[in-house]
Amino acid sequence: MNWGRAKTILIVMFLVTDVFLLFVLMQTKFSASKIPEKTIRETVQFLGKKQIQVQPDQISKKRIKSENIFMVNFFKEPESAAKKILGEDVITVLQNPADYEYQFESPRGKLHLHDQGFSYVSSKEAVPYNIDSLPGAEAATSFITDALQGLGFDKATVSIVNLYEQDGFYHLTAVPVCGGVNIYGINMHIVADSEGIVTLEGHWFIAGEEAKGEEETLLDITTVLTELALKHTGEPMVISEIGTAYYASDDFLGSLEITAVPIYVIKDEAGGVHLFDARVGSAIE
């Protein structure tokens, strides 16, 4: 037997097989990372029948991977948090760990912690803005986030999502940010005057030491849009934006640690915001 020739034939056969298998592997991986065009078209059609308008290019073809974020309550160690906000000269007025209730005071202000959240009141007299000298939204935001930094909140992890002025005071809502992505569900309400922060109240969490869990591929956005369509009853809707974010359920905000989960955020032109759990596709009320 001519082993030389046999080997040559075998080499050619295996190489051809390898090329074919490589092609199949690439194709599999490629298609696994993308939502088929057909699925997107059919989803758009289905939504249309339910009076929801969305453009195909608004729907990302790429399958998204994300992970849970482990977050720690800013006030997990009450005394330490109080020092950050009120300064080193803080005194403890009330300490009831059994019911999770604390009150701290310092020349800077007062801080009250309880299982429903926290509230801070500045001790200085409020100095509202003059109507004529109101700074713009951007300037105000920058000023206030600097003031938050002074109270121990890292401004890199704070995002202002809502701002309005009333009687010379600015009212803002801040949400935490992780990796450039807002975390819905957790927020604090800020009232600021021309000199700084007057009051703070709400909940606040920061990303934990091992903040991010294992990355997993999320549910297809087409599935979530279908769920939106099935739930939708009413006036025609035009979707303006589809994105991802994180969400921490408000059922658990009175906790020491929570997990923020990846969500889809679907905004419509009427100003409505629809949140869906990106792991299972259920709507978040």
Binding site: I11, T17, L22, T28, S255, I258
Partner: protein
Amino acid sequence: MVKKVLKNLTLVCSVLLTVVLVCQIWFSSSFLPGGYDFLISGFKRHVIDPIVSLFNPGVANDFSQNFKTLYRPEKIVVNVFSQRGVFADGQEGFQEAYNTSNDIMGKLLSGELTVKSRETVDMDTYASLLKGKSLYVDYGKNCDYSLFSFNACGQAQTGFSEELSVVRDYVISLHDTIMNDVSIYVKDQKSGNVYRYIVELDKNSLDGKITELINLSPENSFLSYAFELNFHKEKADTVSKILFEPMVLMELNSTKLPAVSGRKLEDFDDNIDDEMMNTILRDFSINTRTMWRYTDLTDARVFVENDATLTLYPNGLLEYVAEDGGPGLDISKGEGGDDIYDAMNHAVDFVTTICGHLPENYFSHLRLQTDMVENTDSQGVYRICFDYLVDGVPVRHKTGDGYAHTIEIEIDNGRLKSYRQYLKFYEKSGEPEISCMAMMNAADLLVDALYKEGEPLWIQRIHLCYVENEAGTLVPQWNATINNQEHIIQE
């Protein structure tokens, strides 16, 4: 020559590349659901396990082995007239006494022993056997006959199923006052009848075993049964404030128990705690990808899925609660069943699974502690409890509204509605022994707390247990059962 070598190398490489690419395609998670896990677990379930069970039938019959471990008597008393040897579960000699008695009972129920005669006797006769030469086996809880028989002889139904429904204790008597026969007396708790079975047995061997056991037993010269003291009967001329079940063993002197301390899981290794939680979550079918997780203000770790919540408290309590109205976790593996036998099967299997993840042979310290009888009020609904024993003494846990067993399960027709388990280990601490108040003093306190004029307290059981308070300290206390309700007596 070089060309030949190159050719060979190319061939080998191309073959290897083919194998690698094929593996990549087969085991890629985009191709198979769950990737590797799907193939490996399927291979194990359908190929490996059946082969293993062929060579080791005991492994296939898990419920039988596990139930035998969990269902044990509370105590076995060897009586040689006025001499008394008490073997509590966990003490030296108990296993030998149990093997002897269970072997005889198993042979009786399976029909291996020839029954020369069977008759019913009254309770006084039953009690009087303890004054002679006998073995008294007390499980301390009622058990449906099917389970009792299954434990003794491996068969749930036998020729005695007609007359025996619920069993709690039995006596093997070597002599009666006149004839030399071996008699086995079993009381059916449901009908109240006491059956006597006279059997053919090697009496001399049993006699020798009893003598051996009594010599092995610890010094127990201050133990009397309640019936010997006539504490089980109302007095003719005065109103009794307290009465005891005839077979209650009265400890007349104060006793001492070893000091015991508890250790939580994280005392072993922080990593064990995290890994174990993931495994336990899977056992409770909680999807780690879709669950909600948080740590509440009491530092309890909470895992929430749509239908249930699993919580690990800082004191070591693991609690699973199905949502109100929710179906609960199916632990019947699709086999359903709503009688006590099925419920026990499912409960034991589930507990074995959870305990299998815990270090230090946790499972061997457990004992079933509730009555195992049909629930006539609500068919298919059962509450099954297990205690952790330290040298035969159970550990209880003080809670806000009472005292909990180490494991408490609620099952509704094969579905788990709630599960509570203290993931802690208990052992002797080496500190000085703790003195416990005398049993009669404990009885005095019971009367002070519970007695109502004209209604004597009827003590069905009374024994010592360790009570773990909220600070984690373990204190021995007396535990009395009155009207099927437990009362832990505090000094």
